[in-house]
């Protein structure tokens, strides 16, 4: 133990001490931090942190900042992932002192296509629905059908969308889906719709045209616009969307239309299994 070792120990301790004191002083004498920031950080703890951007803000932290400024944002442009998480939503509403119970409506995405259509020609090109859709409305016989390249699956933040490679159709797993709605804009045929999770069934077809386009017929289970489902539903569970010429299930009511499912000659109304 010579004096050199002593110097090392003392000088290192002093440098460490100096750093500690400097941080202490900085902490003590800097102005108080913005209260908004503290609130923002508190709120961001309750948010999912997936930074999916479906709420319209660049990330969960930015969304928390907006909520800290004005808590009405939670109702106006709700975070779908948060709305599906009842426990966290309750904690956040307690923290903000707000009643959010009414707005807790789970939503999920459905793909209005069964993917049963035959192949019209072989598509060889960029692996994306957007580019495949530009070539004579897709390579399938049905000009409205899902092309199955998975543009929607690529943006899904929770991997709820899988592609059935045999039928070339996107399938949403209702258990995983958080209803964020990112996939809706990805589909070039607008096949994906966000509906309330309580909805017991959906129409797996989007064949819009009333007349058949030559050589581009609907698939074997495509909707033939027969309106039997409307006739079968005595209490008006199913109505007819005249604009699209397809059956319409009112998202406000979310009633089960089991009679219509049975009556449908093509069996194209699919129940949603939860």
């Amino acid at each position: 133990m010579d004096s050199n070792a002593l110097i090392i120990i003392i000088s290192l301790t002093l440098v460490g001490l100096g750093c500690g004191i400097a941080i202490f002083l900085a902490n003590r004498f800097l102005p108080e931090e913005d209260k908004q920031l503290k609130k923002t950080e508190e709120i961001s703890k309750y948010l999912p942190g997936a930074n999916c951007g479906a709420c319209g803000q660049p990330g969960c932290f930015a969304y928390a900042g907006e909520v800290a400024k004005n808590s009405d944002i939670l109702k106006k442009s709700p975070c779908m992932q948060l709305m599906n998480d009842e426990k966290k939503l309750k904690e956040l509403s307690e923290y903000l002192g707000l009643d959010l119970s009414g707005s807790s409506t789970k939503k999920i995405a459905v793909v209005h296509c069964s993917g049963d259509s035959e192949i019209l020609f072989e598509y060889k090109g960029i692996n994306s629905c957007k580019s495949a859709s530009l070539l004579s409305a897709g390579y399938k016989k049905c000009p409205f059908g899902c092309l199955g390249f998975g543009d929607c699956a690529a943006v899904c933040p929770v991997n709820a969308i899988s592609i059935d490679q045999k039928k070339k159709v996107a399938v949403v797993d209702p258990k995983k889906c958080i209803g964020c709605g990112l996939c809706v804009n990805e589909c070039p045929f607008q096949l994906i719709e966000i509906i309330p999770a309580e909805m017991p069934q959906y129409l797996a077809c989007n064949y819009l045209s009333k007349k058949n386009i030559p050589n581009r017929e609907r698939c074997s289970i495509g909707c033939i616009h027969c309106r039997l489902c409307v006739k079968a539903s005595e209490k008006g569970e199913v109505t007819w969307d005249e604009q699209k010429d397809l059956p319409y299930f009112d998202p406000e009511k979310c009633v089960s239309a089991s009679a219509a499912i049975d009556k449908c000659p093509k069996k194209v109304i699919f129940p949603i299994n939860k």
Binding site: V15, C19, I23, L30, E33, G65
Partner: protein, 191 residues
Amino acid sequence: MDNLFAIFISMALINNLVLSKFLGLCPFFGVSKKLSNAISMGLAVIMVMMAASIVSWFLYFHLLIPFGIGYMSTVIFILVIASLVQILELTIRRTNVTLYNSLGIYLPLITTNCAVLGITFINVRTGYNLIETIVSALGAGVGFTLVLAIMSGIRERLELADIPESFKGIPVAFLVAMMLGICFIAFSGMV
């Protein structure tokens, strides 16, 4: 003046920290997915590098060398950089929230960044004086930002490119980094 300019160019382009010294590779691949993130990160790195270089220069030449304990520099520098970043983060957080939102989340990433530690060592080992140290740290930071910005621009394009399945993501980023490194060799004759 010529000397300072040469140091700046040499640190920014020729002896680029990322591409020729292979320092700071984790932010290089981690934060280079988006151009805006890359530039924010780069600015934070420039700030921390300059502050760390100045403080470590004083410590090295006025504390460690007079006491003859230059070999303890690694420990001291890590300690000093870590606490410096803490103070910097506190200061930004308390005084400028807008700046904190754009830079703040990257500051803790830099605390243990080898590029920052590397530049302090390069400065004291080469024996630069204070002005040269500042210029060299600035050059290194600018070089780091430049490479990060170039890389993020390329990676934004790579997202759209048709890449073989097994190369998607990090592997193709490494391949691009290699080509970028080869391009930067072209600067080696400048100074």
